[in-house]
Subunit: 423 residues, 2 copies
Amino acid sequence: MIYADLTADKLNGLKARLQAELDGFKKQNLALDMSRGKPSTAQLDLSMPMLEQKLNFKPDKIDYRNYGLPEGIPEARRLFAELLEVDFDEVIVLDGSSLNIMFDTVARAMLFGTYEGATPWSKCKTKFICCVPGYDRHFGICEVFGIEMISVDMTLNGPDMDKVEKLVSEDESIKGIWCVPKFSNPDGTTYSDDTVRRFAALKPKAKDFRIFWDNAYCVHELYDGEVALLNIFDECKKLGSEDMVYEFASTSKITFSGAGISVFVTSKANIAYAKKIMFYQTIGPNKVNQYMHYSYLPTVEKLRAHMREEAAIIRPKFEALIGALAPLRKEGLVAFTEPKGGYFVSIMVQKGCAKRVVELAKEAGVKLTGAGATYPYGKDPNDSNIRLAPTLPPVDEIAKVADILAICIRLASVEKQLSLIEA
Amino acid sequence: MIYADLTADKLNGLKARLQAELDGFKKQNLALDMSRGKPSTAQLDLSMPMLEQKLNFKPDKIDYRNYGLPEGIPEARRLFAELLEVDFDEVIVLDGSSLNIMFDTVARAMLFGTYEGATPWSKCKTKFICCVPGYDRHFGICEVFGIEMISVDMTLNGPDMDKVEKLVSEDESIKGIWCVPKFSNPDGTTYSDDTVRRFAALKPKAKDFRIFWDNAYCVHELYDGEVALLNIFDECKKLGSEDMVYEFASTSKITFSGAGISVFVTSKANIAYAKKIMFYQTIGPNKVNQYMHYSYLPTVEKLRAHMREEAAIIRPKFEALIGALAPLRKEGLVAFTEPKGGYFVSIMVQKGCAKRVVELAKEAGVKLTGAGATYPYGKDPNDSNIRLAPTLPPVDEIAKVADILAICIRLASVEKQLSLIEA
């Protein structure tokens, strides 16, 4: 680390200079936001023709404007079955929020168990493994249901599978694990084939253990060409373990956020069990919206072409951010891998500096995701990870944010080094 | 009852003649359906202009195509606040299925209790009062959660309030009651002012008791002029009991079924509590769809005008059905009140005849709602109630269905009378 060998004098000089630079930005009264993984206006505009289509319903057959089809319209189920390489009968298509399907899936397990005759999770000790850094909304579901969270670190190939295998084989109270297998939130890591195979081959002590496979970024490549993720269901079917996996996806970052359609994929046995309870829960999803989506993006090919247009908007933002952070990486002030897709850049600053960086940025008018948000209970044990979300702001703002961020990281690192010298 | 004094010979002659009439219909291989409260194609077509609107979003303010606003868009909340005469802050607008809100509200109570610190219903004995005849989907929610159901009969003014008051004041395990206060399903009864006041004044032994006020047909008048339902929240607020009421409504029978928007209305304290948990459940409802609805029906006045067009389609169907059943009512073979709104005609045939009528109709190619469906556990103690749903078929089919139904009722009554003589 570039500041490691500096004297207190030099560090204090540096600190003053960095502080002055930051003060320069403060005077501009900026209000920049890189805190949330939201699509930009330009991205949303891409899907406007979807709303302008003329839809032809079939009153003589199944009228999608009327009640019925609680598992979603066949066209949408077929499309996602093809995209995710599973059987039609393994797909249910629901409303806009895949988080809602995940929450409801855990809620069902809490109240009814994960299969006929299983003990409801609310009636036994229940723990989940959380890959860290990870997605705060996953952790939130555990928190609200009182499910104890156990962290397992991410590696460049996915979660540390030695740890995962040991934990699930030894502890019967471990009932689930949260995964974002492709372009993981926030790291951007895609699980290796070996990782996926080890997931499929897990031998959990708990018979009702489930893998929550949140494939939120399944078609969210930043660059041309597909980043392959091994199909976990193919691997599971070889071993007969397909009841162990719940997969989720949605169009929230394909068309409109929260106004798209979401997908629940699992074994036929799990689908049948879920449907039995869901019959009591809802008269079915918004089929008009599903049909509108299907009509606009009727094939996997069209869907991928649409995502290339999205990528063309997003890519320069990622590149601007990564470009600005690259020198700091060289200087050892920050570590990160360059994501090939997804919505985030996840950086590791010096231990004990993440909160301070977020605080300094806030003072300069830049809102970042709260430090710690990527860990269960909001507690990053190293206070080191910061999730950056470059999709929402325009590209020229990204450059400015990146400049400010670089100053904040430097300043926090200098302060840290000074405190080490003083101690 | 017209057949009460006939001899067995006469009855047998009548039976043979009715059976022959029914056989005549059987030869026609009909496939008529009056089993489900679904809008007709003509009704659905009324809302097609909604899909053809040009929607202007506001990227500079809150963009409804993006994440945010878990409680729904302000325009829709304001509209329903005005329609249901409650405060803006007492309304949350969600997705297409109000059944989903009801299920989730019970699920939340099961897992978390109805207020901070309350015992979750899954951790105590929980019973619900069900007004009968009533809505099978309400009873289904109780059934799936293992909530014991206690039936209370409907009167012409709403449920028998003497019984309701006695039950809730004596039994701490009674945690809720299902109500359809306007054009009740299936009776079409609108609760009297006195009934609504007595609901607001309930003194339940269970502090966490809740009234599930499913106002599904709040604007579903069949005739010009509004059928008034006293606003329960006004009455509750006089007594400080507004935390006791959850109100639900939706546009499923206003625009498109299951593709509309639904509404949850309750006290500010209940809203705050629900939102705290819902934050973990969903990133929010489909705001594009909400905005589409609002743009098409932006005022209560326009909404009511739209409903008058709906009524013009539905009314002749109700009248055809009621006209065909009127002679049988005179003859004492069937009892019913003529609904002024809603989606059903509920008839009471001779005790022990409902199942037989539905069976006979089925043989003749007419599908009716299963006898018993309007009672908890599907068990009508008198086997007498049949719910008729005249909205879906075209009006000329209604006439045919009504003719067949009349024969089935006569035939079942004659058979019953014969069995009484034989016994």
